[in-house]
Amino acid sequence: MSRIPRISASVRASLARRTYASSTVQLPNEAHGHLPTSQSPITSKLHFFNSVMEEGKQIPTYRVLDGSGKLLEGAEVPEFDEALARRMYENMSRLPIIDNLLYNVQRQGKISFYMTAHGEEATLIGSAAALDPNDEVLGQYREMGVLLWRGFTYDEVMAQCFGNHEDTCTKGKQMPVHFGSRKYHFHPISSPLATQIPQAAGVGFALKRDPLRRGKNCAVVYFGEGAASEGDFHAGMLLASTVPSPTLFIARNNGFAISTPSSEQYHGDGIASRGPGYGIHTIRVDGNDILAVLSAVREGRRLCIEEGRGVLIEAMTYRVGHHSTSDDSFAYRPRQEVEDRKRIDNPISRFRLFLESRGWWSEQEEEKFKDEVRKEVMKAFKRGESLQRHALKEMFNDVYAGEEPWNIREQRQELWALLKKYGNVWEPWKNELKKHKGEGKELIEGDV
């Protein structure tokens, strides 16, 4: 015989809170009452469900502009003016210029690696524009656009990608595109996927505990639909909803994780369907419509901060470029598919048509703007390329703070002694030393 357990005071209290918090939800017909420890109504109908929407329906995609940049019927234009619109457009347009250059530069062997954001410009810039510049961003690796929006310079981009001595992101320790900037509240990129997602929940919690930032800022975490398959994604969502903490989850669903199409990444209704499973407010948005992204992220951010809990945004877009410079995507998708997507669903031209229809942008401005950007980017590239790497002695720094452990100290001394002995005669080192600031002279000639 089953007995109905007594509901403890704390459970009752939390039930009350829950009911209050979700008061917008219609309470279903409770002809048979509900489970003692939850609001789940008792039903006599044997029925499996497999949708978070009305039976059989997919989660809708929020859109403001149609493919030709015209306002969708019934859509509301987000609050913005010409200056903001132009700034958004200009930032979108800067991305492919930098991407093209650095992609080609990698091809020439001048940098070791690169990843473009072709096709995802609206998702990146639209979300960046919706955030407060002090919101804490945790990215995956394709989010350089967010940093640029915040003021990161071309020189800083080049410094990181070349790993030269002006690189303050990683001091030449990480691969290209692994940006990080405390100044711009952009946490350091790490190659292992999805690790940033639960970290974001912790960042959000710290913001909530900080009296100066509570209610003002949230944590914002970007990740691909591929990374969302990692356990860390689920851990992060669960923590931000349960602990809870103001964390805005932005899934860039660009259709691919390297070669794996999203159809092999999940069987459910995208990433968005997972939000309600964690009790998280969720929206799917057309990631190639910058105004839709702007509105969705603004509203998501508001909810997130107001409720102090996670919010999920799934931005639907398409990875037009290869995964990275190590990838040739035509090995697994037809060239024509990419060409079609570029033509039919180009986020930049969609927004440009909208701007032009308002008289906020013109062909002449386009030419002039792109010309200037190309020149500036090229100048930064030449400069970045010409600078040497950090001094070799940086290598052992930043492992520990405080007293340096004996092993690090002794290993540094061991290398310095080897350099003194062989630095001038061992060709591989001799050549390599020339790339570093000071060319190792302080070690070879100095007292170490």
């Binding site: 070791s112 690696f113 790993g163 990683t170 030449g172 320790k173 990480q174 691969m175 692994h178 790490s190 190659s191 292992p192 996927l193 591929g226 990374a227 398959s229 990692e230 356990g231 860390d232 994780a257 390297i258 070669s259 794996t260 092999e264 990444q265 999940y266 190590s326 990838d327 090995a331 697994y332 790497r389 950090h390 070799l392 940086e394 290598m395 052992f396 492992v399 452990p405 092993n407 690090i408 290993q411 540094r412 290398l415 080897l418 002995k421 062989y422 005669v425 061992w426 591989p428 080192w429 390599e432 790339k435 570093h436």
Partner: protein, 413 residues
């Protein structure tokens, strides 16, 4: 002060009779101080005959198609690089064993290092398939499959990304047999992953995480140095009754090329291989550094003019015993200690950081077993105890010079 000690030791060396060093270098390097790169390594088996006579090779033609056991007449080889040899091994495993499946991130189109190229087309998507992006899932899934007696060949895209699967591997795969009183096991699980540095991978594309698994008894760790080795060791790993982590040095995927026997064969797990016999110093390593060690042996016997002043003439004829450990867990203590008892000197080279590296484990055991025979402290040449720093990698990962210097110090101790 240091040099005084060196010369004293060197003197002592020369006084002891029978310790005249003979060169162990297979052939002198060409004029001009050229270093044997991987492509020109004398360790690679570039002829049919040498490939078929690989030490410890055993033919496993269950179908009696090929000639019996030890006969090599009638057997063929084909030129393959390391990724092709890995693919060939998996193809044989899939062909001979209906229960075998190959899975992991991006394996269906061939894998980011091309190791599974064409396998999906050949064996179908049910047997060669993409998984969602979850290493813990891949390892757990493989454990489940293997516990049902199926052959699970999983790929983790980079050894650096094996850590989400650490719990499944260390707490589950390694302990499965033990915790079920031998009722269950996951011996038919093999997890392949590309490992070690390529020169510009930085923190997360250069690691050698074998050491993290050293404490996981129940598990085997195998690292091949070449295509012939990769094929034979991978087939042995797949069929070994224990779960195996098979780490493939990714810089060798394309650059190491050998004649590889086309038949099904095994190379023994748990056995190191003596690559060049010697009597004066044991040089122990695995994976990519095998070739740096080979180069260092050349430098020692025949230093180019600018290095010559640093290489005392007295040790240039030293006979170096170069050993490829191959199986890291459980490691071949017998071959290693037999060698060190003969040479009295041991230099261990690995790319992983010094602290917590496999070298420490080996050094501890060797000093216990060979204490009275040791002429010099066991020396480790390893990555420094920092994460792998991209722009500084050439000074971080041990190269031929660091191996050379360690050998000089050890020989002149």
């Amino acid at each position: 002060m240091f040099s005084a000690r060196v010369s004293q030791r060197t003197l002592r060396l020369f006084k002891s009779p029978g310790r005249r060093f003979q060169s162990s270098a297979p052939e002198p390097p060409p004029a001009g101080g050229h270093l044997p790169s991987v492509a020109t390594s004398a360790l690679l088996r570039t002829t049919r005959d040498s490939a078929l006579r690989s030490q410890g090779i055993s033919w496993t033609d269950g179908d009696n198609d090929g000639p019996p056991g030890s006969v090599i007449a009638g057997r063929e080889t084909r030129r393959m690089n390391l990724y092709q040899a890995v693919r060939d091994a998996m193809s044989i495993a899939l062909m001979k064993d209906d229960s075998a499946v190959v899975f992991g991130e991006d394996v269906a189109f061939g894998g980011v290092f091309r190791c599974t190229m064409g396998l999906a087309e050949e064996f179908g998507r049910e047997r060669v398939f993409n998984t969602p992006l979850t290493e813990q899932g891949i390892a757990g899934f493989g454990i489940g499959l293997a516990s049902m007696g199926h052959t699970a060949i999983a790929e983790i895209q980079f050894a650096d990304y094996i850590f989400p699967a650490f719990d499944q591997i260390v707490n589950e795969a390694a302990k499965h047999r033990f915790r079920s009183g031998g009722q269950y096991d996951v011996g038919s699980l093999t997890i392949r992953c590309p490992t070690m540095s390529v020169g510009h991978g930085g923190l997360y594309h250069s690691q050698s995480p074998e050491g993290y698994f050293m404490g996981a008894s129940g598990l085997k760790i195998v690292i091949p140095r070449s295509p012939v080795q990769a094929k034979g060791l991978l087939l042995s790993s797949i069929r070994d009754p224990n779960p195996v982590i098979f780490m493939e040095p990714k810089i060798l995927y394309r650059s190491a090329i050998e004649q590889v026997p086309i038949d099904d064969y095994h190379l023994p797990l748990g056995r190191a291989e003596i690559l060049t016999p010697g009597s004066d110093l044991t040089l122990l390593t695995w994976g990519t550094p095998v070739y740096h060690c080979e180069a260092a042996v050349h430098l020692l016997s025949n230093p180019p003019p600018n290095l010559a002043p640093h290489v005392p003439a007295s040790i240039r004829n030293a006979k170096i015993e170069l050993i490829d450990l191959r199986t890291i867990l459980p490691w071949d203590v017998e071959t290693v200690t037999e060698s060190v008892k003969k040479t009295g000197r041991l230099v261990i080279v690995h790319e992983a950081s010094m602290t917590g590296g496999v070298g420490g484990e080996i050094a501890a055991e060797v000093q216990r077993r060979c204490f009275l025979k040791l002429e010099a402290p066991v020396r480790r040449v390893a990555g420094w105890d920092t994460p792998v720093p991209m722009q500084y990698e050439k000074f971080h990962i041990p190269d031929a010079l660091r191996v050379l210097d360690a050998m000089i110090e050890t020989l002149t101790y």
